[in-house]
Subunit: 336 residues, 3 copies
């Protein structure tokens, strides 16, 4: 298995993790998530150092996990601090992953802890911004993470996969500008004087002609952000409707991925009915993506992954992400 | 994966393919089948040259398939003729398979198109002959194609697997004559003065003593024909009842196979009730074969395929088919 | 696949095998079990020498199995004695496994028949002893056999997995003595003056303080015996309640195992209600073990099997069993 490990991946939404032990697979390994009594989140390798039984099936005794198979006791640092009912204290430990909680996200660093710099976490402050509201969730995807990354970096697919919600001819018909630096890839699509797709008509009451912006960012290895603006054609910034789309794309296994998502807006923030509508629409859109990506995964797994492929200008951002990921992977493999 | 690719395999029955896109796996690859507006059948490799999404999930615009993921447009020759909504026309193509429609069968050649000689297609003219009638269908089989070929080339199994329909002691008890040339294997079993099995008693009103002929032909790599004659013992040809059995045996994957079948007769051709009876009986027989072959596949897959085996005279046709197939496979592999 | 083959494994309970053919997978191979007309049990490799179809799907003609695919006839020695309806008698045979019936157990030797010494079969005479009674069964386990062996050789897990039945703090809290010789591993845990766990309270009406003995034996490769004694604290042998626990641990495949079990007692032997209670309790305990071991199997299969592990004094018996099994395996592999 090969994953880019030196990077922040979303492990969970903040409110998924509490005093119950939660198992989640990340980059091919089981991780046990919980909070200590003072609320601090903890992520431990989820195999008891004794006989590999999941710690997440154990019980919390204060901040210590007691393994439910033979009683190994593991503290929040991952150290074995004894074995229940026995006098021995084996020198044993499980890996404690670097974990940072910010903007309702629990960020986990699967790789070298010495490199786990919290300053590398992408900015999601709109999730916590009182002038914004958002809906969010987690969708399981039966496809390799790469396919989700490339799906989001080529939004021309909205025209074909999502014609009843967020796509229309203007998306595929408008070229993107691509840039980036380091492990970041950026694209920008400015659709000016266009007919807005159904989602925005219903969500904002917009009519044609309108301007629609899509400014996307991939922060390798696992984060996608999309800055959206919609407004009557010609409206000057900062007027208009702004939305933010977030995807925390965390590989579970080589062919499965967690798709954490959030959709924020800066308008009608108190309108619960609109939030419900946006949640429903977003889930409908993602269901279309999941269906397509799982089919694509099957096409890749049966040989397609290594076949020659054709690319066009619209693929520049996705191809750039692929080079970035391969470079990161190669660097990690040569370092180890 | 290893399949004999230079040969005609049945891809579909004619009436399965129309203006809807159909995916079918053949020799380990997905194939997209459809007809152009003028009715010509087309078989294309079913992975978009862009990102391998199945073309068969796209939509037909005239005779052009538009991929439903990013809008690549592929014509009936397999060439990319543009990308929807975009100004680019990438130089890209998918393989168009040689495909011939004859006698209600769509014949596909998975291998080298230069060798795809329609004269090699076995003669099934009885399917189109107005003096004949037939029933037909497609049965999915969860076993490697080789097991189906050898099942049909050793019909002594009718005695044991199909005792309530087409088998009785006379089948296993009567030796076969085997011959052949090139990639064809032939066998002949002449059961004379025997008690006919239940299917023929009910189907023809035959009583003992009767003559039953089984003249089988395997046209490697994927076609089996059986010429059947039943008549009161001693009746001279061409008097008596004649039936034709066809199996188009098309590998889907290494362990799955399409079993296209047809059963024709030259008597009581207008009797719809008899046709229904024969269809039901044939499906019952094939269900017994499917159950047996899927068990056999499991026995092979768990080591049995490479164990020493015992053979008897009744296996001569099947063993000959195996040699033919291995020779064809070796020739293809040395050529590539 | 690698299994220790030179050893007696339980193939079935005596009453599972009769005049119906039974397929059971043992050490990665299908075995066909039945009894001849005189009641003698037979175990044959369950692939017809002809085309590997399971003999167990055939029919018994006297003591001869007739294969239901093409009529090969195999006698109780495994020899082909003809082919139904045909004049040929091919020289073919299947392996007949050494098989011994004793104490309601059918013992099978998967390895070299020359080494199959019945004197190596562990003593289970309490199963046949009229002064004892027992309950028994077979539980399928989706985990490698090694995990079951080690589960039983470290009963400290009763404290954590089985707290409502047979476990309490005294089990994990009491050290074991370990010994052994050859391919036998023994451990002894003497819990003196303890509170008995719920199962024994209900089963025997015991109250604290009580003495509880656990004297376990692993007869590699596939048998575990536990000699249990419970009595009011300080009671001298042979007074008190005695129980025997047996597990016939027979690998089916690399990741599946048959867990034949029996639970005997020398008290209230005529109490059918107590037998029912003990059967229910034992099945409840085993369901907890199955759930845990199948999770552990998943943890092993996803990389855990080769990770470093921590061990404590309580693992000495299990670690010893592991060394014994590896030594046996190495000896078999160097001999072949």
């Amino acid at each position: 298995m090969s994953f880019v490990l030196n990077g922040w991946y979303q492990a969970a939404w903040s409110d998924e993790v509490g005093r119950a032990l939660l198992q989640r697979w990340i980059c091919g390994q089981p991780v046990c998530l919980y909070r200590t009594r003072d609320g601090a989140p903890v992520a431990l390798a989820d195999r008891c150092p004794h006989r590999k039984y999941p710690l997440s099936l154990g019980r919390l005794d204060g901040d210590i996990i007691e393994c439910n198979y033979h009683g190994y006791r593991i503290d929040a640092a991952g150290s074995c601090v004894g074995v229940a009912e026995q006098s021995e204290q084996p020198r044993a430990a499980v890996h404690r992953y670097p974990l940072v909680e910010r903007d309702s996200v629990l960020w986990l660093w699967p790789g070298d802890p010495a490199q786990a710099d919290p300053d590398l976490i992408p900015d999601l402050r709109w999730i916590s911004d009182p002038d914004w509201t958002h809906v969010r969730g987690l969708v399981p995807l039966g496809a390799r993470q790469e396919l989700l990354v490339e799906n989001l970096l080529d939004l021309s697919h909205e025209t074909f996969l999502h014609p009843t919600t967020i796509g229309n001819a203007a998306v595929a018909g408008t070229p993107i500008e691509v840039s980036g630096e380091g492990t970041t890839v950026r694209f920008s699509r400015r659709m000016l004087g266009i007919t807005p797709p159904p989602f925005y008509v219903k969500s904002m009451g917009l009519t044609a002609p309108a301007d629609r912006w899509q400014d996307g960012e991939f922060y390798a290895p696992g984060v996608f952000l999309l800055h959206i603006r919609l407004a009557p054609a010609g409206t000057q910034e900062p007027e208009g409707y702004h939305m933010e789309v977030f995807h925390g794309m965390t590989p579970a296994t080589q062919s499965e991925c967690h798709d954490f998502w959030a959709l924020g807006r800066d308008y009608l923030t108190g309108d619960a009915g609109l939030s419900r509508f946006q949640q429903e629409q977003q889930l409908a859109v993602m269901a279309e993506d999941v269906a397509a990506l799982e089919v694509q995964e099957a096409m890749y797994a049966t040989g397609g992954a290594t076949m020659p492929e054709s690319s066009i200008k619209g693929d520049v951002a996705a191809l750039r992400s692929r080079r970035v990921m391969r470079r990161m992977l190669a660097a990690e493999q040569s370092a180890s």
